[in-house]
């Protein structure tokens, strides 16, 4: 009797588990997020479940800057999740390792802007669905600019005049939070995009070939020196102790006039004052032709070895095809759309400036720099040296030499 009961229970459990397996399909997702992306996983899960109740997304969310690459290293050895969510620059990094599925010709790519498809392409094949974009440049407090008769600078001389005027008026010219060393890396890359990569698109390749170096490149040295310009015109004694939200609040409160940053700061601005009026311009370069930087951001990648290929395609179809979902994500992250026919509804006072630069074709893709010199292990390490130099712990020559010394780690 006992044996019969046990066999019966086992059979019932087996039938139940088989039934559940057929009904539900779990798709594993590794999401490398920036702080502004937090919560989009819930929006996506809800939208996917609404359209495909049989698909369940199992999310693992990590910080993109700190943990995404280590996780990818780990998973490449043990088996990748079905979907990875990274940045557009990850397309080149991981497609070159043959771990991403080729998405070329997938119907859902028609939902994305041509620029998005281009940013997700590596060696002629599409490996990533780019979902949104950021803008990077100098955010400025419009009221301060207006009250002091300041206009958007085009040259370094213009910028110097603005800094002088602000200092005379006892207004801190630049808001910074160098506690976050990544912010030094980010602004240095912004400078380099306009002063180095816009002039020599293959600078990184030349660097690896030993034809150029930081120690001999005047343009790159100038980019490093811009950090000093900013450091000399910010709250020097505090910046290495100040975190972003507190620093951003000061720009909104009128305690500083400008901040070299990206769209990720907008959330913070609105948290302090939803009516804050701000604009954006490119940090002036040496030749006076700096462009506003556009960066393809959140990018969905599919594992080359996924066993849930159809389900992943359905998820990508929802992400690119559900306009309400896309709009909700753009509104939450305060970013620009890369999906056709979706207009975010959040107030963006800097949009007028973006449109003006776009109309003059003064927009440049951040990946011209990111695809030349990798972030992890190179740009972020250089940023640490720049911080040491600013604090007087390293000479300028030693800082350049340190960048040259990690040449072998510079390839994305």
């Amino acid at each position: 009797m006992k044996i019969t009961r046990w066999v019966g229970t086992a059979l019932t459990l087996a039938m139940l588990s088989t039934g559940l397996g057929a009904w539900g399909q779990t798709v594993k997702v590794l999401a490398g997020q920036s702080t502004t992306d937090a919560g989009i996983e819930d929006l996506i899960s809800k939208a996917v479940t609404a359209k495909y109740p049989g698909i369940k997304l199992d999310w693992e969310v990590v910080g993109w800057g700190t943990d995404f690459q280590p996780k990818m290293q780990q998973y490449i050895q043990s088996g990748l999740p079905d979907i990875m969510v990274g940045k557009a620059q990850d397309v080149a990094t991981y497609a070159s390792k043959n771990v991403l599925a080729d998405l070329t010709g997938k119907p859902y790519l028609k939902n994305a802007l041509d620029a998005a498809v281009g940013s997700g392409t590596y060696k002629g094949k599409v490996y990533g669905v780019v979902f949104n974009a950021l803008y990077q440049g100098v955010y400025y407090n419009r009221k301060i600019f207006k009250d002091n008769g300041l206009t958007i600078p085009k040259t370094q001389a213009d910028l110097a005049a603005i800094i002088q005027k602000l200092n005379d008026k006892k207004i801190t010219p630049f808001e910074t939070h160098f506690l976050d060393t990544w912010s030094i890396g980010n602004i240095t890359n912004q400078f380099a995009i306009n002063d180095v990569f816009n002039k020599a698109a293959d600078w990184g390749d030349q660097f690896r070939a030993g034809k150029v170096s930081f120690a001999t490149s005047k343009p790159f040295q100038t980019c490093y020196q811009y950090n000093k310009l900013i450091y000399d015109n910010t709250w020097k004694s505090e910046t290495f102790s100040l975190e972003q939200t507190k620093a951003d609040a000061r720009l909104v409160q009128g305690k500083a006039a400008m901040k070299v940053s990206g769209s990720w700061s907008i959330q913070n601005f609105f948290d302090v004052d939803p009516n804050f009026d701000f604009g954006i311009f490119p940090f002036p370069n040496q030749t006076g032709d700096a462009k506003l930087i556009y960066e393809p951001n959140i990018t969905f990648l599919k594992s080359a070895t996924t066993k849930n290929s159809d389900a992943v395609d359905k998820v990508f179809e929802v992400i690119t095809g559900d306009k309400a979902l896309a709009a909700a994500i753009y509104d939450q992250t305060k970013t620009a759309p890369m999906i056709k026919g979706v207009t975010p509804t959040y107030r963006n006072p800097s949009q007028a400036d973006i449109d003006a630069f776009a109309a003059k074709n003064q927009i440049v893709d951040a990946n011209i720099g990111n695809n030349q010199l990798t972030w992890g292990g190179f740009q972020e390490e250089n940023a640490k040296d720049i911080a040491s130099w600013l604090q007087g712990k390293l000479t300028f020559e030693a800082t350049l030499k340190a960048s040259d010394a990690r040449r072998a780690n510079s390839k994305p």
Partner: protein, 291 residues
């Protein structure tokens, strides 16, 4: 004494040891051997190939300024932390072992911080320093002091309990004997307050030697492995001013995609940890008094 002989008792002994041996081998020995192997390769952590480079990683380490800096910071942190934390823990233990009032309350207050995760502690203190305009973390010259304050705030209570247990396990007969032999009344510090150093040196200090061994070795090893506090408090900065060796290993192996080189740095850390632990145990155990 009867010693079991023959296959049966041996099998029985082996079956008792085997689970621990398997866990030790799988969890410790095998990863260490694999790590050692990686240290002789230039593996980036991604590719299936592990290119053999012999001793190149170790030679590279000798000239690596960043590794040298990380070791410098870690050793400074370790030495200062071991001295300060042991000293404070012992001091608080002696005070709490005396006749002061509300000792349970003080013990609880001192112990509570070690229940907080170091990541959270680092974050809280970074915010607090910032809000109080006390910029210890923002300057390369003061960041070590700032981290020592946080680390000691968090762990002094834990080590204090070890010392307190040691003090409370000293047989009262020793104090009674001291009293009978005419030692001054204040040598009975457990009741009337903290003793003077000369008296403290003669009775409780030798009896505390096992606790001191645990404290010194534990704090030294813990300090050499400091990581999570630094991640949340300073991120290794400003610049590289608070980059610990474990943080350097993590950055090198993962962000820097130099898994082989990171493994080589790990090997030197493990070697140093073992060396320090062995030396400390030998030196300190010689001073221990059998109760």
């Amino acid at each position: 004494m009867h010693t079991p002989t023959g296959f049966g008792p041996r099998l029985q002994s082996l079956s008792l040891v085997l689970p621990g041996l398997v866990v030790f081998t799988v969890g410790l020995v095998i990863p260490m051997v694999i790590g050692l192997y990686y240290s002789f390769t230039s593996w980036d952590g991604f590719t299936p190939e592990l290119p053999w480079v012999g001793l190149d990683n170790y030679l590279k380490m000798l000239g690596d300024e960043n590794v040298r800096n990380a070791w410098g910071f870690t050793l400074a942190f370790t030495v200062l932390n071991t001295i300060v934390q042991n000293g404070l823990a012992l001091l608080f233990a002696v005070i709490l072992d005396s006749g002061i009032r509300a000792k349970k309350l003080f013990r609880t207050i001192l112990f509570l911080p070690c229940l907080i995760a170091p990541l959270v502690a680092g974050y809280i203190w970074a915010r607090m320093y910032m809000d109080l305009n006390f910029m210890l973390f923002g300057n390369g010259d003061t960041v070590l002091m700032g981290l020592l304050i946080v680390n000691n705030w968090q762990w002094v209570g834990y080590w204090m309990l070890i010392y307190l247990a040691g003090l409370q396990s000293i047989p009262p007969e020793l104090y009674e004997a001291a009293q009978v032999d005419g030692a001054p009344r204040w040598t009975q510090f457990r009741r009337i307050g903290a003793p003077r150093w000369t008296q403290f040196r003669r009775i409780p200090l030798p009896m505390l030697a096992p606790s001191i061994t645990i404290g010194v070795v534990g704090i030294t090893v813990g300090s050499l492995r400091v990581y999570d506090l630094i991640v949340s408090a300073t991120g290794g900065g400003p610049g590289r001013s608070s980059m610990s060796i474990i943080y350097q290993i993590y950055n090198t192996a993962f962000s820097g995609k130099q898994y082989g080189y990171g493994s080589a740095i790990s090997v030197t850390l493990i070697a140093l940890l073992m060396l320090i632990a062995v030396v400390q145990l030998r030196v300190l155990r010689r001073r221990e008094v059998q109760q």
